[in-house]
Structure formats: structure tokens, C-alpha cells
């Protein structure tokens, strides 16, 4: 990547702009854990040699490390998908009681509309819960500029600052004028036990936090980036983030109060603004976060969630419907059979072999978060529950305690390192008869193939001590540990069978890489082909759920897609599938 030079106006995605903003703000340390739509922030930051950047094992660890750097006096940020803040919430709630020394910014990337997420959650409430100021950019230029503002705010008030982005801001490109990096002088941590040992001094610190928030609330009343754009019509609009861009499209003549800081809200500014108009639209994606506070302050001339949806992503169409009752143009699904293109495990995905064996075993499978969540789809249909990262193992233990027979937890390598280790310790400690299958494809697949401790590579692709998962699970106390090849169905199935029959905790580790894992991309494959004269059209090869085995009465194999994994060959009882060239 060639980095832009100061003064240049370049096209940048929001996440790249955030990274550039971190660079310009003199950030010293950045950590995080991958998760859509936040992942690129850290990946791009890793290209700036001035910033020490790293993947943490999970968001809580990444948070605590960045928080340590900030306490030591240097600017630090931590970046995560919005659900990551659930994981890091313990630290996020307590750290504000103490405040910070160097600037500390917590980036939370929300996903309204759940384009690639397990739930929909409005993380603005986290800022209120933690009593931490929050800033929200609307476009790539602001995405960059607001990083510096966030650090200034953090240092001015000695507080962590939440920087909330959303999928559309993070994943939209726009023109950005880039600037220079300014190095920020480091501050020093002063040993001051009554400030930094929070639990012992919590009561006093709580009062200090309230006082700090009162000062910030006063400050935001005149904050220049909370701005009013005067319009010619009689309509008032209060908005922030991506919603601002939609409001400007649909209500170009309205007077708009655009908020940069959405917590704490500028109470008097808002009340005065609303008093100027008969009616004011509060245009905010997801929950009525601003609206609720306005109503609490007695403002009644506002139109909010009575007209606007509280779920899903906004768009100009959504705003036009809410404001003018203008219906969007309907898609053609009513007139034409728009068959969908469902997400599927790739041809050559090792998870498929694991699911075929699990399906055959008849086990109840407690799944986790990753590409392998898709094992729930037909024809595999062998992942029966999934919630959030790390839940599989505890859930499987619980099913066992509840009396269900033959239960398997499945968990990816990245997810295991993120949140699977402690539950496995618990299973051993509490005498669970639980089988855990670690689907080790040597990468964090679903989020775009990031490294993690068990891949033995850093964020920058440098070698690091590799976490040996087999040794780890043995050290935890699991005695029955098997490593199995998911592309060898005999081996895979017998491993599952043996683990299920075994009394006590057991672990199966799969050992084949993702086709996109490091070093796998350039690999040459010999594809398989169908011998039509031997094919009985039984459809067994089509029931392994591989997109490379094409549908139709007589199956065919897509030679470009096929990686030669041989699962279709093993599914064929008639020897009608052979490696190309062996026919």
C-alpha cells in the first residue's frame, strides 16, 4: 500500500480514513479483534510503521492492553465490532471511574441491518451506561477528522471516548483530504492509589465521574462540531452519523442540527433548537436514543420512532417513506422468480468434512460463530444452535447436564482462542462429559482471514510463537484428544464416534486449512470429474452441500471451483467420481 501524502485529496473508505486519522492523531498503540465492519481499521493501521498495532486474543484483552498504554501516558485506541464491546464491557464500565492519562479511544462499529452479524444492537447505549463521551462521524472525511477530536476530548477531560461508526460509514468511500501526523508528547503516570485502585475508592470516584460528566455536558453546548446548518424551509431536523447524509438528500432545505457528539447531548442547545420549529424530525438509525432524552426533558414537538423504523439500516428511501409517505420502488420478486444466492461453505472447505461426519453421527451440535455456523444449512443441517463467540462449549456442557445424549460443541480456532479456553477448563473442572471439536482451519475465516496466536503469525504477517492447541487442551486436563483429517471421512467419523463413546471430556481437532489461509492461495489443484457411464444419478455427491458439485439430474463438477478435496468421491458408492486424468 502506498500511503497518501499530506494535502492530497484521495478516495478512501471510512475504515481507511479512521486508520489515517489514527496516524495523524499521533496514536502510539492500536489493538483490536477482527469483526465486520471494523476489521480493516486495524489492518490499515498496521501499515503505518509509527503505530504499534496488534490483534488481541479477544476484545477484552485488546481493550485492557490499550487501556494500559493510555494509562502509561501515550495515545492508544482499541477497535472492534459492536458485539466486541459486550466482551470488553467489564473494563469499559469501570475504567471511566479513574479516567485516563494519555488519550484513549474505543472504536465500536455497529451493523444496523445485520449484514454480517448475529444480532442488532445500538451501542450508543453503552456510552450512556459507562458515562463516556461518544463521537459519531457521518462520512470518510469526518471518519478521519473525528479520530483527532476524540483524542483531544479524551485528554481534555481525562476520560475514555467512544468512537461509534456503523457499517455504512466504515464501508463507504468518499473524498478525504489527508493531513500530517503530529506527535503528541507522552505524559506520565503518577502513582495515585485513590484514583487508580477503583474498587477500594469507588464511592468517591463515582462522585468525581458525575462531576466530570456535568463538565462535559456543559462543554458540548458550545462544541463547534455540533453544528446547525440553516435551511430555508420551516422543517427542523436533529441527526448524526450516516443518517445525516440521508436527511440531507431527502430534506435539502431543512434546518439541520448535526450532532458530532451524541453523548452527552447538548441539552439546552437541543431544547432551544426544537423551540424554533413547529415540528422537528429526529432522524436516528436504530433505537430512539436521542428522542428518549428529548422527551425526558419535556420536548414534545418531535417526530421520531412513531414514523421511523427502530430496526434495520436507514437509507434515503427509508427517510423519504417516513417523512413523505413515499414508497420505495419495489423489487421484481413479485413478478419474477429471483432465486437467492445463499451463503455457502466454499468448495474445498474443511468444515464440510467435519459436518458430514457429525451429520452421520446423529449428534446434537452446539455451534459457535464463524464460517462453520453455515453448517446449519441444508443439506448438511448439522449445526443446531448458535449465539455468540465462545458459547458452544458451555452450551454443550449444559445440554449434557440437562440429559441430552450425544452432544458435540464445535468451535473455530480463532473463536477457541477468543473465548473457548475458559469454558473448556470449566468442563474439565466440573466433570463434564462433553465433546469439543476445534475446527482448526488455521485462520479467522469469516472476517477475511486474519492471523491469531494459533496461526503463529502477527497482524503484520511476522512470525510469532505459535500457540499449540493440542498441547493446550492436554494441559487443561483433557485426556482424550484426537487430531483428525476432515477430508478423510473414515478417520473423521471414527474420531467422532470414539469421542462420543468416551466417558469424560474429549477434544477432536481437525487439521486441514481454509483454502484462503496463508500459503494456500497459490496451491495447484487436480479437480475431480464425473464418469457419466458409471453415474447412477443417485444424487449422493450433491448432498454434501458443495457448490463445486453442480445441480442437475446428472451431476457435474465445476473444474474451476473444485479443489480436489475428494469428499464427493468418498460420497459416491459407484466409483463414478475420479480425479481428472485418472479416468
Amino acid at each position: 500500500m502506498t500511503l497518501p501524502s499530506p494535502g492530497q485529496r484521495v478516495l478512501m473508505a471510512g475504515n481507511n480514513a479512521i486508520a489515517q486519522g489514527a496516524y495523524e492523531a499521533g496514536v502510539y498503540f492500536a489493538s483490536g479483534y477482527p469483526g465486520t465492519p471494523s476489521t480493516e481499521i486495524l489492518e490499515v493501521i498496521s501499515e503505518y510503521p509509527e503505530i504499534r498495532a496488534q490483534w488481541g486474543t479477544n476484545e477484552k484483552v485488546a481493550f485492557d492492553e490499550a487501556m494500559g498504554v493510555a494509562m502509561s501516558g501515550k495515545r492508544a485506541l482499541v477497535s472492534m465490532k459492536y458485539v466486541g464491546l459486550n466482551v470488553a464491557a467489564d473494563s469499559f464500565m469501570v475504567f471511566p471511574f479513574a479516567g485516563t492519562v494519555g488519550g484513549f479511544v474505543v472504536i465500536s462499529a455497529d451493523d444496523p441491518g445485520m449484514y454480517s452479524s448475529q444480532n442488532e444492537q445500538d451501542n450508543r447505549y453503552f456510552a450512556r451506561l459507562a458515562q463516556v463521551p461518544m463521537i459519531e462521524p457521518s462520512d470518510p472525511q469526518e471518519a478521519k477528522d473525528f479520530v483527532r477530536l476524540a483524542f483531544e476530548l479524551s485528554e481534555k477531560f481525562s476520560t475514555p471516548v467512544m468512537y461509534r461508526t456503523s457499517m455504512r460509514v466504515s464501508h463507504s468511500k468518499g473524498m478525504v483530504t489527508v493531513g500530517e501526523r503530529s506527535e503528541v508528547p507522552a505524559k506520565t503516570f503518577v502513582k495515585d492509589i485513590p484514583n487508580w485502585v477503583v474498587p477500594v475508592f469507588a464511592k468517591g470516584l463515582r462522585a468525581k465521574l458525575d462531576a466530570k460528566l456535568a463538565r462535559i455536558s456543559e462543554y458540548v453546548e458550545t462544541y463547534p462540531y455540533n453544528r446547525v446548518e440553516e435551511g430555508s424551509s420551516k422543517v427542523g431536523v436533529i441527526t448524526s452519523g450516516a443518517s445525516y447524509t440521508y436527511a440531507k438528500e431527502i430534506l435539502p432545505d431543512a434546518t439541520v442540527l448535526k450532532l458530532a457528539i451524541t453523548y452527552p447531548l447538548p441539552k439546552q442547545t437541543l431544547i432551544d433548537f426544537c423551540a424554533r420549529f413547529d415540528q422537528v424530525y429526529v432522524i436516528e438509525e436504530l433505537e430512539p436514543f436521542i428522542e428518549e432524552q428529548l422527551r425526558f426533558w419535556g420536548v414534545t414537538n418531535i417526530i421520531g420512532k412513531d414514523r421511523f423504523p427502530h430496526t434495520g439500516e436507514f437509507s434515503p428511501d427509508v427517510v423519504a417513506k417516513a417523512v413523505f409517505d413515499e414508497e420505495p420502488v419495489q423489487d421484481f420478486s413479485g413478478e419474477f422468480d429471483l432465486i437467492v444466492r445463499p451463503p455457502q461453505l466454499c468448495p474445498g472447505c474443511p468444515h464440510r468434512g467435519a459436518f458430514l461426519a457429525l451429520r452421520k453421527s446423529g449428534a446434537l451440535v452446539n455451534g459457535d460463530i464463524g464460517c462453520y455456523t453455515l453448517g446449519c444449512l441444508p443439506p448438511l443441517s448439522a449445526n443446531h444452535t448458535t449465539f455468540c463467540m465462545g458459547a458452544s462449549i458451555g452450551n454443550a456442557f449444559g445440554f449434557g447436564v440437562g440429559g441430552t445424549d450425544k452432544v458435540v460443541a464445535i468451535i473455530g480456532d480463532s473463536t477457541f482462542v477468543h473465548g473457548g479456553i475458559q469454558p473448556l477448563i470449566d468442563v474439565v473442572y466440573n466433570g463434564g462429559n462433553t465433546t469439543v471439536m476445534i475446527l482448526d482451519n488455521r485462520t479467522t475465516g469469516m472476517t477475511g482471514h486474519q492471523e491469531h496466536p494459533a496461526t503463529g503469525m502477527t497482524l503484520q504477517g511476522k512470525e510469532a510463537p505459535r500457540l499449540d492447541l493440542v498441547k493446550l487442551v492436554k494441559a487443561i486436563g483433557v485426556e482424550h484428544v484426537q487430531v483428525a483429517n476432515p477430508f478423510d471421512q473414515k478417520e473423521m467419523y471414527s474420531a467422532v464416534k470414539e469421542a462420543l463413546e468416551y466417558q469424560g471430556p474429549s477434544v477432536i481437532m481437525t487439521n486441514q486449512p481454509c483454502i484462503f489461509a496463508r500459503g494456500e492461495k497459490g496451491r495447484k489443484y487436480t479437480p475431480f470429474v464425473v464418469l457419466e457411464d458409471k453415474c447412477t444419478k443417485c444424487g449422493a455427491c450433491q448432498r454434501i452441500g458443495c457448490p463445486g458439485v453442480l445441480p442437475g439430474e446428472v451431476p457435474a463438477i465445476d473444474e474451476v471451483a473444485c479443489t480436489g478435496c475428494s469428499l464427493c468421491e468418498q460420497a459416491c458408492k459407484f466409483g463414478a467420481i475420479v480425479r481428472k486424468g485418472d479416468a
Partner: protein
């Protein structure tokens, strides 16, 4: 709003829709005050439906295009032309690649829908069929289909050839610039040469 050009590019993951959007956005960035481009980054698997929104002009706020307002829809695959057809303004221009990619199947088998081009023509859109996949094979590299499509599109946009050449030269790896330039030129000829079939 009228000074803003609205485009939708659609296709199937792995076809180069995102690369084409990036090149197009960079070309627009050379000549226009503002450009916004966005797409949904789905999960890592291939073969899903991909749609990219692109807007450029003097002042652009929203990165997403309103339904029924796109000036041009560029479909890298036929079914994906129908899927996002409602974004196109009435009588708008649709560039459709000559490719049908069978959707992955979960559950009961569904054949590839027939009659796509007739359906779209019946909707009153101006349709330009671009045999990019076939032409790319003729040029000896199926991956340059997206540059052929961009070439055909360029004929219908107010962006200079110089800007296209600059961006292609900058964005495409040096070894591949020549074949991509050739592909682009092939597209330009298709875009100029073939009669746009106005309909109904």
C-alpha cells in the same frame, strides 16, 4: 440532485464487481468534486450476490442510491440485473453481461430462471448486452471481462478517456496493464457499436 450521476453495479462474488467499482470511483475522483461508493462486505464465502452503489457530482451526501433513480445499472450477470433492476430509473440504461451463473443450492433444486432479457425489455429499460465474458475469453484472460464492461460503460459517462487511462495504469498491476487496456478498448467499441435496443 440532477447534477449527481447515480450508478448501480451488480454481480456475483468473485466476478470483479468490487474491483470495477473501485476503478470507476477512482476515475470519477479524477474529474468530479465528490464521489461516494459503497457496497456490502458480506462474509468471506464466494458466490453470493454483490451490489455496489456509486454516486458522483458536485455535492453528494448519501452513499446509497434511491430505488428508481439510478441512471445506469451495470450487471455482470443476468439474474443480478433483475435482482437490482428496481434501482434503475424508468427508461434507464442497463448494461448486461452475457453470463448466467447458477445460484448455489440449499434445499430443493431450482433451475436458472428463463426469460430474463425479455422480462427486462418488457420493463421499458434501454438494454445494452455486452458479451464481455465471451470477448474476455477471446482475449485470452477471462478475468478482464470487468474491464470490457467498464469500457462499454465509459461510452455512456461524462468521464474523460485520459482519466480512465491514468487510473487503469495506476491501479492494475504493471504486467496486466496491456491486456486490460485492450479489454477496455474492446468494451468501448462494444459500447459505441452495438445498437441499444430500446423497448416496448
Amino acid at each position: 440532485m440532477s447534477s449527481v450521476t447515480n450508478l448501480i453495479l451488480s454481480g456475483v462474488g468473485g466476478q470483479g464487481v468490487l474491483l470495477a467499482s473501485e476503478v470507476l470511483a477512482l476515475v470519477a475522483a479524477e474529474e468530479k468534486a465528490e464521489v461516494k461508493q459503497t457496497e456490502v462486505h458480506g462474509v468471506a464465502q464466494r458466490g453470493g450476490s454483490v451490489v455496489s452503489h456509486l454516486r458522483f457530482g458536485d455535492k453528494v451526501y448519501s452513499p446509497t442510491v434511491r430505488t428508481g433513480t439510478a441512471d445506469i445499472l451495470v450487471a455482470f450477470e443476468r439474474l443480478e440485473a433483475v435482482r437490482y433492476g428496481h434501482y434503475l430509473k424508468p427508461g434507464g440504461l442497463m448494461l448486461v453481461n452475457d453470463l448466467e451463473v447458477m445460484p448455489g443450492q440449499v434445499g430443493d433444486f431450482k433451475p436458472y430462471p428463463a426469460g430474463i432479457m425479455e422480462f427486462l425489455t418488457g420493463k421499458g429499460f434501454k438494454i445494452l448486452e455486452v458479451p464481455a465474458t465471451a470477448k474476455a475469453k477471446e482475449l485470452g484472460n477471462p478475468r478482464v471481462a470487468s474491464l470490457i464492461i467498464l469500457g462499454a460503460l465509459s461510452v455512456h459517462l461524462d468521464l474523460s478517456r485520459e482519466a480512465w487511462d491514468t487510473v487503469i495504469g495506476r491501479r492494475i498491476p504493471p504486467k496486466l496493464v496491456d491486456i486490460n487496456m485492450k479489454a477496455f478498448q474492446t468494451g468501448v467499441e462494444i459500447g459505441t457499436g452495438i445498437k441499444v435496443s430500446a423497448s416496448a
